[in-house]
Symmetry: C2
Subunit: 274 residues, 2 copies
């Protein structure tokens, strides 16, 4: 029988930092059924008090002490949360005093800077990047390709679109993607539109079994989805990447974040923070 532990990600804003931090820590523990909830916008003394009441109630009825992962900037609110019957892990409590000493500065104690619209210019850079990605998805438009920071290429259904959108959304990168169709792959030639942009290219492949499975969901029983066709396209794509010196990854066991990070590293693209 596995143990249940209630975990709360509490924040005065979105709770995204608390979730990221908390999930990273919790993945290090096996055999426990963590029941996670995010409590965002706990930004008044009243909301903090009712949060504590709720956590205390759960602590009494559930049989195990909850864990509270907090990224609450306000000292007042944090003091209330600390009073809950829980293991209290707070990002600011822990690291801000060390940084204040190091930098010889007082922290500003301002909430919501991490995922708020701190900087309008950057906000628009991100929206622009997302629009660019949508307009240049799957070779739809070649108009702005020359302004792309990176162009992902791959046979159909290898994961170009999610990675492109992730690069735009998380990092404000101008990412496009271009499909490699059977003709390109047979001739071992890049589509003509992207030949002059070869410096920007980054290739994707996956394992043939995986591609067969993904394509079969879309078009079951088709030649397009057959293992034979998938293997052929992937073999040809990989051969072309190698011959032309295009960096690439096999993304079969990778997350979108990992593919994006590798692609940026390979292309020397610096991350922007939002």
């Amino acid at each position: 029988m596995s143990i249940n532990v209630n975990v709360f990600f509490v924040s005065d804003r979105t709770g995204i930092t608390a979730e990221t931090l908390g999930n990273s820590l919790l993945t290090q523990f096996d055999g426990i059924d963590f029941r996670k909830s995010t409590l965002p916008f706990i930004n008044t003394v009243e909301k903090a008090r009712s949060t504590v009441d709720y956590i205390n109630h759960l602590a009494e009825t559930s049989g195990s002490r909850p864990i509270l992962v907090s990224t609450t900037v306000s000292d007042d609110i944090r003091a209330i949360l600390r009073g809950a019957n829980s293991l209290f892990l707070d990002l600011f409590d822990t690291f801000i005093p060390v940084l204040e000493l190091e930098l010889n500065l007082h922290a500003t104690n301002t909430a919501g800077r991490a995922h708020g619209v701190a900087d309008t210019k950057r906000y628009y850079a991100r929206i622009d990047a997302m629009n660019f990605a949508l307009e240049h998805d799957d070779g739809q438009s070649s108009r702005g390709l020359a302004s792309a920071d990176i162009i992902l290429i791959a046979p159909s259904r290898c994961g170009k679109t999610p990675t492109t959108l992730y690069l735009a959304m998380q990092h404000g990168i101008f990412a496009a993607n271009f499909p490699l169709i059977e003709e390109d792959l047979e001739d071992q030639k890049l589509p003509r539109t992207i030949v002059p942009l070869s410096e920007k290219l980054f290739g994707l492949i996956v394992d043939p079994d995986r591609l067969h499975q993904i394509r079969s969901e879309r078009r079951p029983g088709s030649e397009y989805a057959s293992l034979r066709q998938c293997s052929f396209e992937l073999r040809q794509a990989e051969a072309m990447y190698r011959r032309l010196g295009i960096p690439y990854v096999n993304s079969t066991t990778m997350s979108i974040e990992e593919i994006a990070t590798l692609a940026m590293q390979e292309k020397g693209i610096r991350k922007q923070s939002f």
Copy 2:
């Protein structure tokens, strides 16, 4: 003259957790020019050693001690990084021992669980959600609308698409969006397709000035972009949301993350973690 401090986000995987943690902390300090770099995939003793050499070199030449924000799981690699001439802040060093005590368990010390493909089923849920969002962007398709978890509605260019894609990418939520066109707004009636789905609706507005500015970039000088037209559409949209009891936000000063978090909270949608 502002002070420069080099900050490194170091990780054995993508570095996303280290960036989130570090950026949250750094936003609390004004007046310092933080020069941030992410060093992902520092997953061997050799890479850790050359990271330390690089940081030490910078510490000597830059005149201020670098800050190293680490989320490195391996004890060996962390021990090497700790030797660098820097302020060393490590997530695992800090919180894992406390959690081990609380849970009466040893941490597994496995890298890359936070942003790796830990769970294939979840990975596909996320890709499915992104495909759903792309297929149901801007009222393109009504085929699957009934399976949407949420449908964002707004006049053109109020930020429906980025929020929809964010909900899909970050949380695996089936999010669609539907435009409110002039006819809908004049008649104060929802588009017929979404009338039966009113439980799923969430509205967006922005300030008229902002909308005027955004639309002017697309179609400068047009009636569509005029302040008069923008004000009219927004006034009508807000009146309709109120009359029909559709929850909504004015997103002018909000980030995509904040809009998404509010919308999920309002609709009682639970977050998934990836």
